[in-house]
């Protein structure tokens, strides 16, 4: 009898230890921001374990503007939205594109970066000769007709091909929406996993943000990879990268939104973008 009491007491104690209360005051003098920490150059980790990258620098700048003390934590990307809504942290800055689907779950500020998405292939693959290389199409209402024509032109060329994409991303939704019936979509947990399968020839192409793919094809060990085909942005691919917040925190949304607007307006975003990407990702308004 005694014995089970000891076990029960231990179990209850460990449950209470688990409930390390992190109830916060809501004046937003301290903000906890989540990032992925493995998405170079947006946000990644150096060999001392420190988070670095475009969004880390930008977060520091935004927090200065909001006069808040910020803590940045790393979190796996595929659980980041439920974790935000469960209250693990207050904001997401993880190279996350605004999409209609995500807007159902969380709120977004205005964008601080916009990069189109494109294909990367092996130079030896037939897809290396996709037409319109480097041309940018917008899926927003103003350019959607031309974009959809280009997508229809691509369909016969992509027929039966296997294309890798990171799961629960805007890019995955895009492939589902436009190419579902002609290609085989293979989803990966992280982008570097689909790169490995591209290098191994297990997929014909990968589809991802150009800001990411550019640094992949430029890496010395990926000499046989290249970017191919047209680039797409807007619409199902997202309206740009922004800070994600809970819908129940309108005051924090207003603060972040103003700070992002100011950082875009005074050129801070451009400066940081040149530093980390080597090109300007400032969204055009």
């Amino acid at each position: 009898m005694k014995l089970w009491k000891i076990f029960a007491a231990g179990l209850v104690a460990s449950l209470f230890a688990a409930a390390g209360a992190s109830a916060q005051p809501k004046d937003w003098s301290t903000i906890k921001i989540a990032t992925e920490g493995a998405y170079k150059p947006w946000n990644f980790t150096d060999s001392s374990g420190k988070l670095i990258g475009f969004e880390i620098d930008l977060a520091e700048d935004l927090c200065k503007r909001m006069k808040a003390r910020c803590e940045i934590v790393a979190q796996a990307f595929d659980g980041v939205i439920p974790a935000l809504n469960a209250g693990k942290f207050d904001a997401i800055m993880a190279g996350m594109n605004i999409t209609d689907k995500r807007k159902e779950a969380i709120a977004f500020t205005q964008t601080y970066g916009r990069t189109p998405s494109t294909f990367a292939v092996l130079k030896s693959n037939a897809l290396a000769k996709l037409p319109d290389a480097g041309k940018v199409y917008s899926l927003n209402p103003d350019g959607v007709v031309a974009a959809e024509k280009s997508l229809n032109d691509l369909k016969p060329l992509l027929k039966g091909k296997v294309i890798g994409v990171q799961t629960s991303t805007a890019q995955a939704n895009f492939l589902e929406k436009y190419f579902k019936d002609v290609i085989e979509i293979r989803q990966y947990k992280t982008t570097e996993q689909h790169d490995l399968d591209l290098a191994a020839g297990r997929v014909d192409a990968v589809f991802a943000s150009i800001s990411y793919l550019k640094s992949v094809v430029e890496a010395p060990e990926n000499k046989e990879m290249m970017l191919a085909g047209p680039r797409y942005g807007g619409g199902a691919l997202g309206f740009g990268v922004a800070v994600g917040l809970r819908k129940t925190d309108p005051e924090l949304l207003a603060k972040f939104d103003a700070a992002v607007g100011a950082a875009v307006a005074d050129g801070t975003v451009k400066t940081l973008s040149m530093k980390w990407f080597g090109f300007d990702i400032t969204p055009v308004r």
């Binding site: 005694k2 460990s14 390390g20 916060q24 990644f44 374990g49 469960a86």
Partner: protein, 237 residues
């Protein structure tokens, strides 16, 4: 090769310290989970052997459910669902804001309660391997249930349980990799972060595999030693 040594070494650009730290985290979270699982497992085994029919039913349900659903699902339920439930509870009690379940705690408890389901079966089997005559003899000399448990049951049951527990420990060690999804920086998560940050996925995943292998080899040796010690008074036919 030189590149690899630089990358995984302990120099200024080396990821060695981080990978080792993550290995320790893997050991810590697995060991916590395993210990928790031993507690839960012993409790469940007791319920199945001695409990009332209702208790037995509950214990049966526990082992069936937890061995039957994916471990990843249990982790998600505890980490995301646990926070939501605790927050609702806190609000009901008048508190404001969010109550979080720590990633380590959620992970250790998730792997622990799964491990407990497996361990309960091992403990039950080990108990049943004890000669009935020994238990009857203990009762006949007037031992209390606690004394009988301590002197007769535990020393013998544990001896039979060691090989099975070794397997369950290996399971816990590998299941701990699933906790990477909730952001705990254990070995697999660290390897993913390193791979994404340096664009050298091979180096990181191979290193992580090697470190897991070191852990399982060392602990396998430990369990064999424990078995040898436990069985030292038993003559094998």
């Amino acid at each position: 090769m030189i590149d690899y040594v630089d990358l995984m070494g302990f120099g200024p650009k080396g990821w060695g310290p981080l990978m080792l730290q993550a290995t320790l985290m893997t050991v810590a979270v697995s060991a916590t989970a395993f210990a928790l699982g031993s507690g839960v497992g012993a409790l469940i085994a007791w319920a199945r052997i001695e409990g009332h029919s209702l208790l037995q039913l509950a214990a049966d349900a526990y082992t069936t459910v937890l061995r039957g659903i994916p471990d990843l699902l249990v982790i998600y339920l505890l980490y995301f669902g646990g926070s939501a439930a605790l927050t609702a509870l806190a609000h009901a009690l008048g508190a404001k804001g969010f109550v979080g379940v720590d990633a380590f705690a959620a992970g250790a408890i998730a792997v622990g309660i799964i491990s407990g389901a497996y361990q309960s079966e091992i403990f039950r089997g080990a108990y049943q391997a004890i000669a009935r005559g020994e238990l009857e003899a203990a009762r006949a000399v007037g031992m209390s249930r606690w004394l009988m448990f301590r002197r007769i049951i535990v020393p013998q049951a544990l001896r039979f349980a060691i090989p099975g527990l070794g397997n369950v420990w290996q399971l816990a060690l590998k299941e701990s990799a699933l906790i990477s999804v909730v952001g705990l920086t254990e070995l697999l998560r660290q390897a993913q972060v390193g791979a994404g940050s340096t664009r050298q996925p091979f180096a990181f995943f191979i290193t992580a595999a090697a470190l897991y292998l070191v852990l399982s080899t060392l602990s396998g040796w430990g369990f064999r030693r424990a078995e040898a010690v436990g069985m030292r008074g038993v003559r094998r036919s």
